[in-house]
Amino acid sequence: MTHREALEVLAAHRGDRVVLTTMGSIELWPAISDTPLDFAYLPSSMGQGVSLGLGFALATGRGVVAVTGDGSLLMNLGCLVTVANHPAPLTVLLIDNGLYEVTGGQDVAGAGRTDFGSLARAAGIARVYEFDDAEAWRRGAVEVFNGAGPAFVWLKVLGEHGKKTPTAPRPMAEQIRRLQSALAG
């Protein structure tokens, strides 16, 4: 499955959830969805996307999908334990391409060998899903988004080299205003 295919399935099933994108997903997502409920976390602190998503879900009770990469998640693996122990309507969507894609495609530590599903289960997340092709993800997405409480979705996607460094679709202050206005409305 390509990164874009993985995100297209998300777009078809996210409903009214807030979608927080990070790193390489920021470059792809605005062409798929660009509403006030789409939050591009850029400029970012790498690894903190899931934590932001958790805080937002805890504050609002609103469904959030935090789209993170394998390199980012590895920088903040403890967040899986935190997510498991603070029940919130948060879906962690891991785009695993084995690469630091935005820096030119270097391997992440443990590329292709790390079992992220087992890590999530061991952290205590009850609903863990793994998909390595788009059709299976398409079929499984219904169950992922019908369930309650935190979920972890491990999507194995093809690594791509030579991709552009992502740019946010709009300035951060404007993104925050849009998101908070949508919540208030």
């Binding site: 400029p43 690894g47 903190q48 937002f56 805890l58 609002t60 967040c79 935190t82």
Partner: protein, 159 residues
């Protein structure tokens, strides 16, 4: 002497909604009071950078979190702090325990924590108040100052 119930009471009275904390030995005794306070929700992250990320999400969701950590963790959390305060421009509020501060002032510590705490916050352009001793009146005023400041601010507790 700062009693846990009084400390937590001042935090709740200042309008904070969540405490995101990784305790050190000085604030660890606050735990029962934090858990039982009906106005505060206690969040337990694994690392201090993560604590600041969670606080950012809470602020985006219009909550009023307070991050309570030790200075060692603040040193680790630099990139998260930089991003939340200077990229997202969110009004991050912190209480930070400064390990070995009293011994440092007395010239009896080789701990580098108190040496670098204030310069680090100054470098990150986070205004702060330092309480050399955790007296109730000073703490209450410091927490009110945190809550009443429009931007980011830290209250340092000398330990």
């Amino acid at each position: 002497m700062l009693e846990p119930a009084a400390a937590v009471g001042h935090i709740a009275a200042a309008g904070f909604t969540h405490v995101v904390w990784i305790p050190d030995s000085a604030v660890g005794p606050w735990e029962p009071a934090l858990v039982s306070n009906p106005q505060l929700k206690l969040i337990r992250p694994c690392r201090e950078g993560e604590a600041i990320g969670i606080a950012a999400g809470l602020m985006l969701g219009m909550a009023r979190p307070l991050v309570v950590i030790q200075c060692t963790g603040l040193f680790e959390a630099g990139d998260s702090l930089r991003n939340v305060v200077h990229d997202l421009h969110l009004p991050l509020k912190l209480i930070v325990g400064v390990r070995s501060y009293a011994a440092h002032r007395a010239g009896k510590s080789v701990d580098s924590c108190p040496v670098y705490m204030e310069p680090v916050l100054t470098a990150w352009k986070v205004p702060y108040t330092l309480l050399a001793d955790s007296n109730v009146a000073g703490f209450a005023a410091g927490v009110r100052e945190l809550a009443g400041t429009a931007g980011a601010r830290a209250l340092l507790l000398g330990e």
